[in-house]
Symmetry: C2
Subunit: 150 residues, 2 copies
């Protein structure tokens, strides 16, 4: 079932299942998109500011997207972002960590010039297995306004 802009209210929350980021997946992503020593080689990582192998922050963001898509909170409507504000990597993610996501609607804003769409602003935090917030962001999502006949 599609969900429309006004199906959401400020303060609505959701939470996803968790996703374990296996070391091989972490290395594969780093090789493709973030080939830096502290993502790829344990020896060099131990001498980095992280003191250990860490997952690329962009993979944390990608896994966060996957969890939101799979949650079904916007199934059929689609999770379509116009942009992200205040993306922050707050704690390292290590290969093998299990991440889950919590979201809270912070604004529901129809578009002034276009009555058919609006922006849903959602504060999204990504949390590891120890309940440490590893990433936070504010996602700006496009949602359709419910047509008059639906």
């Amino acid at each position: 079932m599609a969900r429309y802009l006004h199906d959401f209210n400020v303060g609505d929350t959701f939470e996803t299942v968790s996703y374990t980021l296996a070391e091989e997946e972490s290395l594969a992503f780093a090789r493709s998109y973030d080939p830096q020593p502290f993502h790829l080689y344990a020896g060099e990582a131990s001498r980095s500011i992280f003191h250990d192998l860490v997952v690329s922050g962009w993979q944390t963001a990608a896994v966060t997207m996957r969890l939101i898509v799979d949650s079904g909170v916007l199934r059929e409507t689609g999770v379509i972002g116009t942009g992200i504000d205040e993306l922050r990597w707050l704690a390292p993610v290590k290969p093998g960590d299990a991440l889950h996501v919590r979201g809270e609607v912070i604004d529901v804003r129809p578009w002034p010039g276009n009555p058919s769409r609006g922006t849903l602003r959602v504060k999204v935090i990504t949390v590891n297995q120890d309940d440490v917030v590893v990433m936070s962001q504010v996602a700006n999502l496009i949602l359709p306004v419910r047509p008059a006949h639906v």
Copy 2:
């Protein structure tokens, strides 16, 4: 050669080579991290607001990171972000597009409480083969301050 915070000045720019995002790579990323119909199936994509298959915005961000890492602008120092401000997906990216990145230093800010590090703020735009800006962001990067003896 490592580069330090004060090796950069406001107004410094860099530009990367381009990266062609093959359709198979686009589909593989979407299957892993953004499994929505408009990223995966041409038929459903044609009926979406994009009217065509499009690349996940998170893959555009990941490719942007890869281009910055490969550019060597921060080789040895490392491209380590604390966060991103004002990430905006401005135009669709299609499978087969060739992306490149331009950066401009907009702030060089030592950390008040820690003389050994600072933040480099870089406005980053990602551009396609037709010179259309498809994504923009402000990256906040951690850089070391040059030690007194170097």
